[in-house]
Subunit: 247 residues, 2 copies
């Protein structure tokens, strides 16, 4: 028994294009080629094709399938490797789903909309993970609630203040001012006051916050956009401030 390319495609539920593809890449050769160039497949080819499709349904890539079918790789080993990859993918998806859900919830609460209008460039909701991971959900929720109670004008004022402080600090860093100087420490005090509106950090937390500005590229970008190195400069200034003024 022998079949044309269409017949065998229908038989196993695939397309002739796929079979030609498998031929081209050497995964499944026709058992015979007609003098007219037509491809013909026999029962052995059918069996091989069915195994190919079985492994394909499991998500294996075609090169991996070829390795298994040609006896180069053990079936179970290939599947174990594949399984690990699948599990990782699933975890990644789970994290992504959680993030998207959070983001949706926030946009529905209008938070993101405000962010779009006002907070662009320093969207506090964007950093939920960091805040929550390091200082707990309570602080974060508190911070959010406080933010939500504000009028748009008040929110804008806060953002403007943040921008001013950041810019002034950047300028100080460009001038090379000592981070311990009165002027710089005065700017840091304004920064601390600004932060305190959302959440009151102790010495350790405030120092930690400064480190985060440098460690997390998203924060870094938001300070370095005023001047390169501004984030690191702010971190140093914050440390001095914390050690002098906080417990």
């Amino acid at each position: 028994m022998e079949w044309s390319i269409q017949e065998i495609a229908r038989l196993v539920g695939t397309t002739s294009r796929t079979l030609r593809h498998y031929d081209d890449m050497g995964l499944l050769k026709p058992s015979r080629m007609g003098s007219n160039g037509y491809r013909y497949y026999d029962q052995a080819a059918l069996v091989r094709l069915q195994r190919i499709l079985l492994l394909r349904e499991l998500g294996l890539g075609l090169p991996a399938i070829a390795g298994v079918l040609d006896g180069q790789r053990e079936t179970s080993k290939a599947l174990m490797t594949h399984l690990k990859w699948l599990r990782q993918e699933q975890e990644r998806l789970a994290r992504q789903i959680a993030s998207v859900e959070t983001t949706i919830r926030k946009t529905e609460e209008g938070e993101q909309l405000m962010a779009e209008e006002i907070l662009d460039g320093f969207d506090n909701s964007q950093y939920e993970e960091e805040v929550v991971n390091r200082w707990g959900r309570a602080a974060y929720d508190h911070s959010n609630r406080k933010w939500a109670t504000l009028s748009k004008e008040q929110q804008r004022d806060l953002m403007v203040e943040q921008e001013r402080v950041a810019r002034a600090l950047a300028e100080a860093s460009v001038r090379g001012d000592d981070v311990a100087s009165d002027e710089v420490q005065q700017l840091v005090r304004r920064h601390y006051t600004w932060v305190s509106f959302f959440w009151t950090p102790n010495r350790e937390a405030y120092i930690h916050l400064g480190e985060m500005y440098v460690a997390d590229p998203r924060f870094t970008a938001n300070y370095d956009k005023h001047a390169p190195g501004a984030a690191a400069y702010l971190r140093d200034a914050m440390r001095v401030f914390a050690e002098r003024n906080l417990d």
Copy 2:
């Protein structure tokens, strides 16, 4: 403040290639182009870039991101659509993981190895889902245990018998024999006997099995490989047999 392509790439943690890509596709244009062709980005561009990367981390495609950023699509709607897609992907992955685990278990029990040697073309383990779904796990396990107790010679004999019956039925269908004829019904009896080795179907189940041979392309392929239409022919013959001989 203005940055070169490398600077802004490092600032947000991406590559200059990516930024050129976004430029090419119109997702993020540089704020200014130098007379030398260099790309320069200002703060507004930085903000837009950060939003792009935020959405990208959520898994949105670049065209979708463009739609959101240009205000053509609502953020939350885009995210909802995306979330549905993510959930479907996760389910698909879960199913695939289950399948791979099952397959690994079977290969480790040596079942698949035998299948590779003997059962190719009618691998009973390949159809676990159908069998389990329609007649319960007990029947399937019983069937598997029985198979496992056999010697390789016995297994081979059973497969040979199945092939003989299938081939003879295909020939009868080609000749156009009546499915109710004695000869054909004799062949069906051999088929029933063969099936009964694994599992004893009643009238309804046996008729159902015949229907499955036609409905499921994988079964169909295994009978039609002897002759086109053989699966449908067998189904008809099985129905006659069941109605005459089974309860």
